[in-house]
């Protein structure tokens, strides 16, 4: 396809703008990357936190406390990083702070927040809050919560108890009032504008034919530099062109009132596109043009000597369609009560080694140091449990022989023959440890049964019209025996509200797993000729994690919000029931 004609075709296609509803079900890596670079994919959302408190302790003698709240984020090493301070509210035991905090929400990690409320002494009043030395102020109380907890209760409030732990005396932790956090997502980022633009009476720039017009829309940055944000397709030989719809996000544009430069060019395959005219309009003005049905004449800048003039042309710009719609984000769905349900399947094949020996991947260290399986459950489950409201997790094992039975490729970890659910992450760990002593490791490694089991739960939930999305974590030590069987199961599951995370532990060669992870190659194809309609598999070898970075679990989880959004958006499912 490397002929020059296709080059021209590429140059003539439309670029930029924002996710249209169709772009959501057609995947385009370049577009994805573009949105990611702008934080426009639900992965990174800006959350605005408002704080208020009730029943604070009174530390001032003659008047009430003068509280100020400070927000910290706790790093994985336990260190605190200050995110910001509120203003000081005078004489109040139930202050409502006006200052908002903007925190970047990241789905794939647990973000621990620490909130401290200080009483600011009178002598410091009037000072800039940032300049206050916190050690000179009296601590009224401290509260901790996770951002995921807040994110699932968006547009609702989360109330946490303030505690005042005196140094090394947690027993004396007293109640010191309550802190209420209200969270909302910045709205501007969600609105997209759909435009259909048309021009009439364009001039002819080509010698023998009509012009081949296309539009470029640019925004002016603070420094006056023009940054192109989108380009339409080229319409050949057309002096009355109507381009396909353009999608712009308000976030991309800046605001509805920021001026946009709309330039109409005549396409020239040598790259020297001739300007046919331009117009400067903000989105608000374009909306007005549309609602009043008026037209805008294009102009061409002329420089006569020193002064710049505009030559107004006969050509006109017409807005055929202007509509704003809100593109719902991952957080909207969480706030609307959508749940992510967590499921686990653990590899009990003999290749893991005898669990009683220390070199086994299943060896449970009496010192309490978790093995690779336990660590994967803890890390992935630790993030996902916040999105599963009943905290009942189905847990299975595969590739082992339960007592006196034949090899099972999907048995309940809790030993029960009827129900597969266990309570909480702790429940998974207990069931895992007890299963280890109750089954004998065997083989081969087959995922099909486990995936089918998960798919059955997911389809049952769909049939009951529940608002749930399922995440199956498969932890395995080796290469699957029947690749095609696994592919068939994955292809079938791709139409269900299900994502599959595979963690490879141990030192085996995981090349085949990479094939399953569709974003590294071709789309999965079943033996019957059906092709996976979307990417639902993520694979990560866990040995990378052992080197101490937690970024691997994050990369495993990072695609989940996107996979979730492709599912709900393609089906037109709204965030609220």
């Amino acid at each position: 396809m490397g002929n020059c004609c296709s080059d021209v075709a590429g140059g003539q296609s439309a670029v930029g703008g924002t996710n249209s509803s169709y772009a959501a079900n057609a995947s385009n890596e370049a577009v994805d990357a573009f949105f990611k670079s702008r934080g426009y994919n639900g992965l990174f959302s800006q959350i605005e936190l408002s704080l208020s408190a009730t029943d604070l302790r009174n530390r001032d003698v003659l008047s009430k406390s003068d509280p100020m709240a400070v927000l910290y984020i706790k790093g994985s090493d336990g260190s605190l990083r200050e995110l910001g301070r509120t203003e000081v509210v005078l004489n109040s035991l139930s202050p409502k702070w006006i200052k908002k905090f903007t925190v970047t929400y990241q789905f794939e990690m647990v973000q621990n927040l620490v909130l401290r409320v200080y009483d600011v002494d009178t002598q410091f009043h009037g000072m800039d809050v940032k300049a206050l030395k916190l050690e000179e102020q009296q601590l009224l109380g401290e509260a901790t919560c996770t951002l995921s907890e807040i994110a699932t209760k968006l547009y609702r409030t989360v109330t946490v108890d303030l505690a005042h732990g005196e140094v090394s005396a947690p027993a004396h932790t007293r109640k010191c009032g309550q802190l209420t956090v209200y969270a909302e997502e910045s709205v501007a980022s969600k609105t997209t504008v759909e435009l259909v633009l048309r021009c009439s009476d364009l001039e002819s720039k080509d010698l023998f034919s009509k012009s081949d017009p296309f539009l470029v829309i640019s925004k002016a940055t603070e420094h006056g530099i023009l940054v192109p944000i989108c380009k339409t397709e080229v319409l050949e030989n057309d002096h009355e062109p109507t381009w396909k719809q353009i999608f712009l996000s308000i976030q991309q544009v800046g605001s509805k009132d920021s001026p946009l430069l709309i330039e109409c060019f005549d396409f020239n395959s040598n790259g020297k596109h001739a300007l046919l005219g331009k117009a400067q309009k903000s989105l608000a003005e374009l909306e007005r043009l549309h609602s009043t049905g008026s037209v805008e004449n294009l102009f061409i800048p002329m420089s006569v000597g020193q002064n710049h003039q505009r030559k107004v042309l006969k050509s006109q710009l017409i807005v055929d369609k202007y509509s704003e719609n809100i593109q719902h984000t991952f957080l909207d769905y969480l706030a609307g009560g959508y749940e992510l349900n967590f499921m686990v399947a653990i590899d009990f094949t003999a290749s893991n080694g005898n669990p009683r020996l220390p070199d086994s991947l299943h060896y449970i260290d009496p010192s309490g140091r978790p093995n690779a399986y336990q660590r994967a459950i803890l890390e992935v489950g630790g993030v996902l449990q916040f999105y599963d409201y009943d905290k009942k997790f189905p847990a299975w094992g595969f590739g082992a022989r339960p007592i006196d039975g034949p090899v099972s490729h999907c048995f309940n970890l809790n030993g029960s023959s009827t129900y597969c659910e266990v309570e909480g992450i702790h429940g998974i760990m207990m069931a895992y440890a007890s299963a280890l002593s109750n089954v004998s490791l065997a083989g081969p490694t087959l995922f099909g049964h486990v995936v089918m089991q998960a798919a059955q739960i997911a389809s049952g939930s769909v049939a009951r019209n529940e608002r749930k999305y399922f995440v199956l974590l498969i932890i395995t030590d080796g290469v699957i025996t029947d690749l095609q069987e696994t592919k068939d199961a994955f292809v079938m599951a791709s139409d269900l509200p299900l994502s599959i995370l595979i963690v490879g532990v141990g030192g085996a060669d995981f090349k085949e797993m990479e094939i399953l992870d569709a974003d590294k190659g071709e789309r999965l194809e079943s033996s019957s000729g059906r092709v996976a309609s979307r990417d639902i598999v993520q694979f990560v070898p866990f040995r990378d994690v052992q080197s101490g970075e937690d970024s691997v679990v994050q990369s495993l989880l990072a695609e989940l919000p996107t996979q979730f959004l492709t599912y709900v958006r393609a089906r037109g499912i709204g965030p609220t029931a």
Binding site: Q456, S459, R530, R534, A570
Partner: protein, 172 residues
């Protein structure tokens, strides 16, 4: 096949196709369309796509009546008058008993040309609009409803290249 329920209606949105080729190294240039067939006498055709080349997009909704005992739908991608590739869609992929009515299934299929060689992928979505009225006593009593199709647990389809449907009466 004792099941003779009334025919039901499905809404198929032919979304797009990927990588259609006329021959080994000749991609489809333009004018591709998709033909859906439920039986030799019953077919629906999309409009021509003139812009997409070998990656055509139609986004076209087609309503189609399916006999209650239909097991397959055939899809064919044409370029002009030439058949580029075809695939068989098992009805159980979108009308299986575990799926609720009006569930929008997003399905993709590998197309194969007359010689059986791989030729592109077709993306479509299918929604079952009307259920056939249960005409047989068994159908009403079966928990899943009177659907031809195989429950998910046994959803693995046997065979290579050509899909085989499993008659539903084996299950009940």
């Amino acid at each position: 096949m004792e099941r003779k329920g009334s025919p039901y209606v499905i809404e198929i949105t032919v979304i797009s196709a990927e990588g259609l080729r006329l021959s080994r190294n000749q991609p489809v240039k333009k004018n591709s369309c998709v033909v859906l067939r439920s039986d030799p006498f019953n077919s629906r055709t999309t409009g021509m796509d003139s812009e997409g080349g070998s990656y055509p997009a139609w986004n076209e909704k087609l309503l189609m009546e399916l006999p209650a005992n239909a097991r397959f739908l055939t899809v064919e991608a044409h370029s002009g008058s030439r058949l580029v590739g075809a695939a068989s869609i098992p009805v159980s992929d979108f009308a299986a008993s575990f799926l609720p009515v009006n569930y929008l299934s997003f399905l993709s299929y590998r197309l194969r040309d007359a010689h059986g060689a791989k030729n592109g992928i077709l993306n479509l979505s299918v929604k079952v609009i009307g259920r056939p009225s249960p005409t047989i006593g068994c159908a009403a009593s079966c928990s899943g409803g009177p659907w031809p199709g195989v429950p998910l647990a046994d959803g693995k389809v046997a065979g290579h290249g050509i899909v085989t449907g499993i008659p539903v009466s084996y299950r009940w």
